[in-house]
Each structure stands twice: as C-alpha cells, then as structure tokens.
C-alpha cells in the first residue's frame, strides 16, 4: 500500500514536471547512448588491437623463425670447428648455410672476438680482423651473449662492410672454454622483408623496430617514422634472443569510430525526440488537468455566484415539493419576507404560509402545474408572516422537472408588493375621488385618444346636461357628431378637425340637442395633452351656456335697440339743429332787412317773407312733433288689421293723384291677410309709400304700383313697387330715410314721408328696406314683427 502510494507519488512527480521528465529522459538516453557507444568503440578497438596483435604476432613469428634458423646456422657453423678450434670447410659449409637460409647475408667466425672468417668475403672485407670485444660500440652486446651463453642478436648497427644489419652471435665454447663467436649477419632490410612486414596494409599500419641502446639505455628506433609513438596507438612484442621490440602502429589511431559516432548522434537525436515527446505527452494530461481545474474553478465560482444570488437576491426564491407543497429550500430573502428563520420556514410549507382566502387558488394552480396543464403560473396573493401580518406577494412558480417527468419540485419566486398594493389602493381611492370631483364639475368632462380616435372618458354630468347616460354616449362612436344641432354640425366638425390637426387648444360654441329634443348651447373648451412633444389625447369640458346665450341675445337685442334709438336721437338732434336753425337764421336775416328797409314796399315784402318762414317753421315743428310722438309713444295699440282694407283706404285718399297720373295698381294680397299693427301707422305707411310711388313716376310712362304681401320666415312682408324714376342708391342709400332728404326737384318733395314711415316702422319693431334702379323703379319692403 505504502509502496503503491510511493509509486504513484513518484509517477506523479514526473507527470507533474513534464519538462524535467523530458530532460531527464533525454539525459538518460544520451548517457546510455554514450555508454553503449563507448562500449562498442572499446570492442571495436579491441578487435583492431587483436587484428594488430595477430599481424604483429605473424611478423614476430617470421622474425623469430628467421632468427631461429640463424641459430641453427650458427650452430652449424660452429660445428665446422674441429677440436682444435679450426674451422673445416668453412666456405663450403657457409655457402651451404647461406643457401639454405637466404636471409643471412654473411656468416662469420670470430675466434676470441676477432673476425677471422667471413663468408662471402666479397663486400665484407672491411670487417676482417675487427675485434668486436675491443670495440666499444660492439663490446657490450658481444659480452652479453657471452654472459648468457646464448645466441644474441646485436644491432642493428652500421656494418663495417656497409649498410645496416644485425649480427646474431653465438658464443662457442670449445672444451668449456670460450672460443669465440659464430655469427650471422643479416641485413636489416632482408630481415624485414622476411618478416612479411612489408606485406601488411600500409594504409592502416606500419611497423617500428626498437632496441635499447646498450650504452645509453635509451630506446632507439630503427625504421623511419615520423610518428611520436607516445601519441600513437600501437601494439608491440619483444623479439626473443635480442633486446628488440617490434611495434605495430596504427597510422590514424581513431579515438571514436564513425559508426559509433553515428550511433551517438542518432542516440542523441532519439534522446531529444524522446525528451520532447515525453514532455509533450506529460504536458497533455497537465494541460487537461489545468483545463479541468479551470473548469472546476469556474463551476465553483458559478455555484458560489448562484448561491450568492440565491441568498442575496432581492427576490425571494424557494424550492417547493411538488407533491405536498413543503419548502425544500428557501433563500434569505424568502425567509425575511415572511419573517421566519430558515429552519422555521422549512417546517411550514406553503399551505401554512398562504392567506386562507388565496389558498384554493394556489392549490389549484399547483395542481394544474403538476398535471402539466400549465407550464408556469403567476399570481398576486397574500401571505401571512410569522408575526401574523398579511403581506402581498407577486408569485411566479415554474416546475423544475421536464414535461414528461414525474413532478418533483417547483421553483417559486416571490416579491413583496405590499407597498405597491397599498399604493394601488390609494390610487384607486384617489381615482374615485377625482372621478367624483370630475362628476361634480358643472360641465361634461371628456377625453379623446388621438391615436385610436376614440373616446376614452365622459363624465357623469352628461346625464344632467344632455339627458343621455354615459353608456349611451360610450355606445355610439359618433354620439357627439350625431347630437350637434344640424345647423352647427358642419362648422363644429370642421373646426374640431382643423384644431385636431394643428393641436391648438381652443374653445368654441355650438348647439346640441338634448334627449328631450331641447336645444342647448354648449361651450366646448378643448386642450391637447402632449407627451414628449407628441399629442396623445385631447381633453375638454362641455359647459351648458344656454342661459348665458339667452342673456347675451337679449343684451344684443337691447344694444341694437339702444343703438337704433341713439341713431334716431342723433338724427333728430341734427334735424332740430339744422331745420330749426335754417328757419331762425332766415328770420334773423328778414328782421335785419325789415330794419334796414328803405321803403314801406320793401318792408311789406319782407313781412310777407317772414310770414312764409313762420309757416315753414310751423310745419317743421309739426313734423318734429310727429316724430317725437312716434318715438315716445311706447304703448302703441296694435290689433289685427285687414291689409287689403287699408290698402284700399290709402288708394281712396290718393284717388285724385291716381286719376291725374293715370296710375294703375297690381295688388297681390292673399285673402284675409291680417297683420298685427297700429292702425294709424299702417294707414300712414301705406299712404306715404303709395303716394311716393305715384309722385316719383317716370315722365315717359304711366305709373304702375304693385302691392304684394307674403310671409318670410313666418313674418309678414308688405312689398310696394313702382316703375318710377328710381333712386341712386349708391349715392343715397344712407339718407333715403333721413328727414328733409329729397332726391328730385319735384316741388312736392318735402323729405318727410319716408322719414316718418321709417320711424313708424321702427316703433313697431319692424324693418323697411329699399331696392331701386334709376329709371326702372323702386321696391320698398316692410317686415312686420
């Protein structure tokens, strides 16, 4: 167990450190590679060494054999000696010996160290009689062979006879007494040739040949070579019976073999690859692990966040058991709203928390939710807090299970809306108050939506003012238009449409027809309500101004009457001032003339003039009196009068003029036409108008007077026309009914008839109009009140 744990932690150590692991692997493989390479290098080197050793051995053997042959040669040579120590048949034997042993270039017999016998002599003469024991140069080696009593090869040395050679000396004892030496001389080059040294692969190796200098004890090399032996790779072997050492030296001693180097390189490459691969491979799980960790952190954070949201939210959350309504989970806000602690609330369940009045509804909704009839529900209901207080909540419940699953839990969101509910209550209350306030306003308050083009409100006052109910109004979209007085409808609609386009507040007056058919005057004050510069609704109040209108009408009538009276008064004062003054000024002048008269005749003339002024004045006074009478006679007696009868009466009075002027009459008065009028006035009016019609006759035609009567707007109209000279109305329309206004040179014209007529008609509350064309005739119309 512990081991297992250690193992895992060991693996983990590496797994967690991909770079280190990769590097370690790299190092390991590299080391292994180098080790193997070294090993293989070593093996290769050993192989080579062996090869060299074999070559060396071969050479050595050859040399040894040659030298051994020399031994036998020497022995054979020694055997030529007789007992006396004199060689027998030396030359013959020697010749034989050299023949059998071709490496030997010459043989010698050296009694007591002096070379006495040489074969062949030719070329070796220089060596004859040389005492080798005497020569410092040769002595030691010679003595060495004596000492060892063995054959000893001396040299290579410079031969007296020329060239380099070796001398194999065999000490010869005759009768246990040193006799001398038998010697063979071998030319070095012959020896080497024999050894087969020359036949080896010259490119790879070469031989060296050394001997310790007997005098200096220093190793002496004999073959030409540039190589420093100490730096070269070589094998060597000593040659027996001499102090020679034969070396085989590698020409290019390879420290590392190319193959091995390749192996190393390959190995390192593999190591690198493995290192990287491992790092990558190990990193992968690390990355995955990091990713996992990251995800984990995120998840944790999210959970924390949701938890925080859940706990800190200003909305109450609760998870409810779908079956029994128990609370599975609830956040702080939920608990706070209801005044319970978390533990308390969990023991409660929604049934206990819900206000009894709202419970049925709640349970029904949950049932529907569980049965899948609805996917969620919203409601506003009451809950009871721990302290017994009733709060209003806004509730949203959604199932936490899929549609086809068994109901498990619901999530409920609740929000305390008690304040809003209370505010709503207040608003409703104040709305009611405003409504009752509006209803008490003495006018119909209305509201119209400009977008939907429909009425949105009408106050109850409509019942008092128009007699229609609010419902009757609301029931007909065109109620307002339909109930405007037909004469005002066009104007009112046009104005309303115009202002609705321009959005200008305005008020206007029109008549409406009440339910009972009565016409009332309405003043409609209209305002536009803007929101963000855009008119949304129009609002107004329709006030019943019928009474005001009547008063206004009366006032207008009175004003008109007063104005008329005033005008007449002014005219009267003018008449008085002008007409009376014209007489008085005449009188004044006449008096002056009487006073300054120079003769009785003249004075009488003036007196006569004065009399006529007096008459005129009297007449004027009468006229004025008449006018004053008309205007002051307030209580005129009126009674129904037969119009035709009065026309005839006037014609009778004027019969003389009618006859004189040959005037004819066209009368068109419906039978039994009676008019309510003052008798004297009617008589006077008819007399004046008919007499004018005849008096101002056209000189070129007989006068025709037309008298008609008809009704206009329920009022009697008497029309009297003539075919006379006519009056230039463009000039005289303002003075035609004035006093003493005459328009012709007719001497009968007094300028009083029309003046009196007009005053009489005015006094009766009627109107007189005139229409006239010069040379065609005039028409007077009397409108009787």
């Amino acid at each position: 167990m512990r081991n297992e744990k250690n193992r895992i932690s060991f693996i983990n150590w590496f797994a967690n450190r991909p770079r280190v692991s990769g590097f370690l692997l790299f190092i390991t493989i590299t080391i292994a590679t180098i080790f193997i390479s070294l090993l293989s290098n070593h093996i290769l080197r050993e192989e080579e060494r062996n090869e060299m050793k074999i070559i060396l051995e071969d050479a050595n053997k050859n040399i040894e054999e040659s030298l051994k042959n020399c031994y036998s040669t020497n022995v054979s040579l020694a055997l030529t000696l007789n007992n006396d120590g004199v060689p027998q048949n030396f030359n013959v034997v020697s010749k034989q010996l050299i023949k059998s042993n071709p490496i030997i270039s010459a043989v010698q017999l050296v009694p007591d160290g002096v070379i006495k016998y040489i074969y062949p002599m030719k070329g070796n003469e220089a060596a004859m009689n040389l005492n080798i024991l005497d020569s410092k140069y040769l002595q030691e080696e010679a003595e060495k062979s004596i000492e060892t009593q063995k054959m000893y090869f001396a040299g290579p040395l410079k031969l007296k006879q020329g060239g380099t050679g070796i001398v194999g000396r065999l000490p010869i004892y005759n009768k246990n007494k040193f006799w001398g030496f038998s010697a063979v001389i071998i030319k070095l080059e012959t020896l080497i040739k024999t050894s087969g040294i020359n036949s080896i692969d010259q490119s790879k190796y070469y031989f060296q040949f050394s001997k310790k200098n007997p005098i200096t004890s220093k190793e002496q090399f004999f073959l030409p070579s540039k190589t420093d032996l100490s730096k070269s790779y070589y094998v060597y072997s000593p040659i027996p019976d001499s102090d020679w050492i034969l070396y085989l030296i590698a020409k290019n001693p390879p420290v590392i073999y190319p193959l091995v180097l390749l192996g190393v390189i390959l190995g390192i490459i593999i190591a690198i690859l493995f290192g990287i691969l491992t790092t990558k491979l190990l990193k992968k799980p690390e990355e995955l692990r990091l990713l996992l960790k990251d995800q984990e952190t995120k998840l944790l954070k999210n959970e924390l966040r949701f938890k925080t949201i859940f706990d800190q939210a200003t909305i109450g959350f609760a998870i409810i058991d779908a079956c029994n309504g128990d609370l599975v989970e609830a956040n702080n806000k939920y608990c706070d709203m209801l005044g319970y602690t978390y533990d308390e609330i969990k023991a409660k369940g929604i049934v206990n928390l819900t206000h009894p009045d709202d419970l049925d509804d709640t349970l029904l909704n949950i049932k529907k939710l569980n049965e899948g009839q609805i996917t969620e529900y919203f409601s506003e209901k009451r809950c009871i807090t721990k302290s017994g207080k009733i709060i209003w909540i806004n509730l949203t419940v959604s199932p936490l299970w899929e549609n086809n699953e068994r109901p498990t839990t619901h999530i409920a969101f609740i929000k305390d809306i008690t304040e809003r509910k209370e505010a709503e209550k207040l608003i409703k209350k104040s709305q009611a108050r405003f409504k009752s306030l509006i209803d008490t306003i003495d006018g119909i308050v209305w509201e119209y939506d400009l977008e939907t083009m429909s009425s949105t409100f009408i106050s109850k006052k409509i019942e008092d003012i128009l007699g229609y109910s609010v419902d009757e109004y609301s029931g007909s979209p065109s109620f307002w238009e339909d109930h405007i007085h037909p004469e005002d409808r066009e104007f009112a609609l046009a104005l309303s449409a115009k202002e609705n386009k321009n959005y200008i507040n305005h008020d206007y007056e029109y008549r409406m027809i009440k339910k009972n058919g009565k016409v009332i005057w309405i003043r409609d004050i209209m305002n536009f309500v803007f929101e963000n510069g855009k008119p949304l609704i129009s609002r107004g109040i329709m006030i019943d101004i019928t009474t005001m209108k009547e008063v206004e009408k009366d006032l207008n009538n009175s004003l008109q009457l007063v104005t008329e009276q005033n005008k007449r008064l002014l005219n009267f004062s003018y008449i008085v001032s002008h007409n009376l003054r014209s007489h008085t000024s005449n009188i004044e002048s006449i008096i002056y003339l009487i006073e300054s008269a120079e003769s009785e005749e003249e004075r009488n003339e003036m007196m006569h003039l004065l009399k006529s002024v007096s008459n005129s004045l009297d007449e004027t006074m009468k006229h004025l009196n008449e006018v004053v009478n008309i205007n002051t006679n307030i209580s005129l007696v009126t009674k129904p009068l037969d119009l035709s009868q009065y026309v005839n009466k006037a014609r009778d009075i004027l019969s003389e003029q009618i006859q004189l002027n040959e005037a004819s009459f066209i009368t068109n008065i419906p039978d039994n036409t009676t008019i309510n009028y003052n008798s004297a006035y009617l008589e006077s009016i008819l007399y004046n108008l008919i007499s004018n019609a005849i008096r101002y006759r056209h000189p070129q035609r007989k006068p025709i007077v037309t008298i008609k009567s008809h009704k206009e707007n329920d009022k009697d109209v008497i029309e009297i026309s003539d075919n006379g000279i006519g009056i230039d109305l463009a000039k005289n329309s303002d003075k035609i009914f004035g006093m003493y206004k005459t328009f012709s040179n007719n001497s009968d014209a007094r300028g009083i008839g029309l003046f009196i007529t007009k005053n009489q008609i005015d006094a009766m509350g009627g109107i007189i109009t005139v229409d006239s064309t010069i040379n065609v005739g005039s028409t007077f119309k009397i409108y009787i009140k």
């Binding site: 003054r581 014209s582 005449n586 002048s589 003039l609 005129s616 005459t742 040179n745 014209a749």
Partner: protein
C-alpha cells in the same frame, strides 16, 4: 375795385330771396345768380367754362340739397377745375352748426371757409375784401 360775380347755391327759396336782398345791399357784387342745387350750378359752369365775364368769383354753397348736395358739387368741381380759367372762391353757408359738417368742409382745399347762417351784409363785404 372791380365788382365780383357771386353765385348762391341753395334749395331754400326764402333764403335765396333774402340773400339776393343782402347782396344788393352790400353793393360789392356786379352780378348775382342763384341755383337750387349743385347740379344746376355745375351745368351752368360747364357752359361758361372759359367765359371770364360770366364765371363767378365767389360761390356760397349750401350742404343739404336735393339732386346734388354741396359735397357732391365739390367733387364735381374738382374734376372740371383745370378747365376753369378763373379762380373761384367757395364758401360753405349752412344753417347746420354740426361739427362734422364744419370739419368735412376743411377736407376740401377749394373751400375757403364755413359761414353759418344767417349771412349778414358784413359777411359778404368781408368775403370780397378777403380775396
């Protein structure tokens, strides 16, 4: 001093008689003509446009007259004025003491003055001497 020609335009027959007497008394006029309305006077004027011997020097004009009243006469004379070779002095003579008549007379630059009735001999002499 050369005596003047005076025209009286007035529909009041009594006034015409009186003024005739007064003109004679004043003894400053060489000739006298009377017209009952403006129309008569205009017609006569048109007939004697270039005859200085008959053209009036002074006209006494009433306001209220039938056919053509004083104001209408003034409008008419405006139109023929350029053709008249003599300068005519016009006075309004009226029994009206209404301010509006007096003011209206001031709007005609050809009207020299407004004389309320009655006209005296002195008035006539003054008119002539004022010229």
């Amino acid at each position: 001093m050369k005596k003047k020609i005076i025209w009286i335009i007035d529909d009041d027959a009594i006034y015409q008689t009186i003024i005739h007497k007064l003109i004679l008394k004043s003894d400053v006029f060489s000739a006298y003509s009377s017209f009952l309305n403006g129309k008569e006077a205009i017609n006569t004027l048109n007939n004697i446009l270039e005859n200085n011997d008959y053209l009036p020097d002074i006209i006494l004009l009433d306001i209220n007259m039938p056919i053509m009243d004083g104001w209408e006469f003034m409008e008419e004379i405006k139109m023929i004025k350029s053709k008249i070779s003599k300068q005519i002095i016009i006075y309004i003579v009226s029994s009206s003491i209404a301010l509006e008549d007096r003011n209206k007379s001031k709007t005609y630059k050809d009207i020299y003055g407004y004389i309320p009735k009655p006209v005296s001999v002195n008035d006539l002499i003054t008119i002539v001497s004022n010229e």
